[in-house]
């Protein structure tokens, strides 16, 4: 009965056993090494630290609320808007890929102030809400902001029990101020129907070229 197949099967059988023994003992050695090394803990040092990559042994986790890793100053976490510097230009709203910024602008009757870099503020921000639970932290809004008032901060621990608490409101106007601003705007609008027509006319003269919407003609072709 002894043929080549039994011979091969036997070799396989015993090489299996040596393989078991080798791999299993390697595994045990590895875990024992980890067990031994976990005498040391890592300190909460940030990635900026020179020794950051040298600390590859020992307990790797931190007891989070009690200790935490330092975050780089330019960390991209919670958004912050310095509302005094915001000119309510709506750029951030337009660029945001997930529409998490909501602005309610009220045009002012006159220049209402200057930002810290000297830009004139002409629009009231009746509402400036950022829903951080939608934000994907892409940072696009901060790059388009002309006055650099919208920034990302390094605070990342802002979990809440209610999702509504993730909507951060930056506008500072009281309901009364909003009402007054709206009324002032409406009064001004009423007062200048002619002026606006004139300005429209003059502006039409000035226009050299105007973007023309080219409608897709595909459906029409189908009809023909």
């Amino acid at each position: 009965m002894w043929n080549l197949e039994t011979h091969d099967a036997l070799i396989k059988y015993f090489s299996n056993i040596t393989h078991f023994v080798q791999t299993l003992s390697n595994g045990l050695k590895l875990t024992l090494k980890h067990l031994w090394e976990s005498r040391t803990e890592r300190d909460p040092m940030g990635i900026a630290d020179e020794d950051y990559f040298l600390k590859d042994k020992g307990i790797a986790t931190l007891q989070y609320p009690k200790e935490s890793l330092p975050v780089p100053d330019h960390g991209r976490y919670k958004l912050h808007n310095e509302i005094d510097d915001c000119i309510v230009c709506d750029l951030c709203v337009k660029v945001c890929p997930v529409n998490c910024i909501e602005i309610e602008p009220i045009r002012a009757t006159d220049i209402i102030g200057k930002t810290s870099d000297g830009t004139n503020k002409r629009i009231h921000a009746a509402k400036f809400d950022i829903d951080m639970s939608k934000c994907c932290f892409c940072g696009l809004c901060t790059t388009v902001c002309p006055t650099e008032c919208l920034t990302m901060t390094k605070s990342y621990d802002f979990s809440t029990f209610d999702r509504a608490d993730h909507v951060y409101e930056f506008a500072e106007m009281t309901p009364l101020q909003i009402l007054e601003a709206k009324q002032a705007f409406e009064e001004k609008q009423k007062a200048k129907p002619t002026a606006s027509a004139q300005s429209m006319k003059s502006s039409r003269d000035k226009v050299v070229f105007k973007p023309i919407m080219i409608k897709s003609k595909l459906p029409k072709k189908k009809d023909e």
Binding site: Y13, I17, L24, G27, L28, L30, T31, L32, H34, L35, E37, S38, G58, I59, A60, T61, Q63
Partner: protein, 353 residues
């Protein structure tokens, strides 16, 4: 003497310590902290968990087979705890005076399959049933290599009494002991005791028997890597899926109990039971100095704890086996080698006479 009275509170205490120890060992192996908040370094975590568990509602599913469902865990624990009644504690306390203690222990260890089956069947849940069926297949097939490896020891010792087997492995033996059991070499170590008269040294082949015993023991105890009956990633919780509160706690208790029982048995059968590992060297009577009622209890527990640690270490090292791998391991590897070892141990015993 009533070693039983010692082992029940000891088992409860052991579970408290072992659960904490296991969580810590697992954590350290995985480079994390483990429980840290309850008490200094989290040492009261298990106690807190226990309190929580006791307060929980004892839920019995509507569709369950109630009497079987309720009886399952109790039977499981009773059976395992019955095993402890036969364990000796030291040279004066021998446990239940049963001549065929080893045989009874083997029977008891394999009886726990009944408790598992009752739990799994009674739950009326497919996951539980899968777990129970796997447990039966596993425990029944690993019974054979376990039995064969124990048979090796019984052949070498010519006794089935656990106390007698232990006594033969130390200073209190009545027969002369030769180095490696080989009478032909003529080196007598009866008076040296210690390590040299342990079964694994007296008959070095038993080291391989021990390996088989330990692997089969892990499978009997449903410990990883043989935790198929309760594999939480496939079967939710296996046979104890439907249990909650204290009844679930009994399962935990029994599981750690059988782990401890297997370790005790391994220590008694292979590593000298309550005998000291130190041997007499000339005027340094280490063996005599480290023997005595309390020392003996200490040695027994110490050696057992080391084996329990090894079980935990193995659990957190290896992934779970597949069912077919499990069966291959038992029937194609452990059983043939077990048979071979029985044969070789018979020859060794002839050389010891």
């Amino acid at each position: 003497m009533h070693t039983f009275l010692f082992y029940l509170p000891f088992l409860l205490f052991f579970v408290l310590v072992a659960v904490y120890g296991e969580r810590k060992i697992a954590a350290f192996i995985q480079s994390r902290f483990g429980p840290m908040d309850v008490g200094p370094k989290g040492i009261f975590q298990t106690l807190a968990d226990l309190l929580k568990m006791i307060q929980k509602e004892d839920i019995v599913p509507n569709a369950a087979d109630k009497p079987i469902f309720l009886l399952g865990p109790i039977l499981f624990f009773t059976v395992i705890f019955a095993g402890f009644s036969m364990l000796p504690l030291n040279s004066n306390m021998a446990g239940a005076a049963i001549e065929s203690g080893v045989l009874l222990l083997m029977a008891v260890v394999s009886l726990d399959v009944l408790g598992i089956l009752m739990a799994g069947w009674g739950s009326n849940n497919k996951f539980s049933l899968f777990g129970a069926v796997r447990a039966i297949a596993q425990i029944v097939s690993f019974e054979i290599p376990l039995g064969l490896s124990v048979l090796c020891v019984v052949m070498i010792c010519q006794s089935m009494d656990l106390q007698e087997i232990t006594r033969q492995q130390g200073l209190y033996t009545t027969d002369p002991i030769f180095l490696f059991g080989l009478k032909g070499m003529g080196i007598e170590v009866t008076q040296m005791g210690g390590l040299l008269s342990w079964n694994v040294v007296k008959s070095p082949l038993l080291l391989f028997s021990f390996l088989i015993f330990f692997i089969a023991g892990l499978a009997e105890a449903n410990r990883a890597p043989f935790d198929l009956p309760e594999s939480e990633s496939e079967l939710v919780g296996g046979y104890h899926t439907e249990y909650s509160g204290f009844r679930w706690g009994i399962f935990m208790l029994a599981e750690y109990g059988i782990m401890l029982l297997i370790s005790f048995l391994a220590v008694i059968l292979f590593f000298g039971g309550w005998n000291t590992p130190f041997f007499n060297m000339g005027s340094f009577q280490w063996a005599h100095w480290t023997m005595g009622s309390y020392w003996e209890v200490f040695w027994l527990l110490f050696k057992t704890y080391i084996l329990v640690f090894v079980q935990m270490w193995i659990r957190w090292t290896y992934p779970r086996l597949r069912v077919d791998q499990l069966m291959t391991l038992s029937w194609k590897y452990l059983t043939p080698f077990g048979l071979l070892l029985v044969f070789l141990c018979g020859i060794w015993k002839l050389m010891m006479l």
